[in-house]
Symmetry: C2
Amino acid sequence: MKALIFFGHGARDARWREPFDRLSALWCEQQPQVPSAVAFLEMMEPNLAEAVAQLVGQGATAIQVIPVFFGQGGHLRNDFPKLLEACQLQFPQASLSASSAVGEDTQVLQAIIDFSSRAI
Amino acid sequence: MKALIFFGHGARDARWREPFDRLSALWCEQQPQVPSAVAFLEMMEPNLAEAVAQLVGQGATAIQVIPVFFGQGGHLRNDFPKLLEACQLQFPQASLSASSAVGEDTQVLQAIIDFSSRAI
């Protein structure tokens, strides 16, 4: 069974996670056959391993991680691949893979342009 | 004259800014009558005051700042309003305003959902 994780940076202010919870809710509405979870690199729970454990517990065998970051800096180029590899070793019963950062996607950028056009 | 600033967090790795430069290029293609700039809270140049100075130098009298952040945590709730107010005092010849964070926008979130659907 496929599953998906929206993976974000995390922040001290609990309200920072609101868009992540909205993403998870939207996904659940639109793709109810593919369970999803959110996970954070730091300062927020759950971390990636906890989210993977939850989805594996639901029967996931192929988990796609979506890095919900704009740019690909040190966190995504250095920290994240190591974290993903450690999770893969910890959970051999599921195949883990990751997409590029959402901020690399032309349609995501176009949605930001459209939002900006409405704001001026 | 209206103008727009895409305002991001900033990072140590210079490649992190690529999506911001793409946003600025897309905006320039689609809204060439409204000059734009990028600006960063920390670790990258230009900062907000430098971007405002550049646009005011081009004749901007109304500048809309678009916070290119997912969540609204401490940076946007505490640091950013103070920074915007300081820039407004420094540049009284232009009216500065700000939108909500792009991650609050339903269409931006939907674009992330669509990207994720293509990734699984």
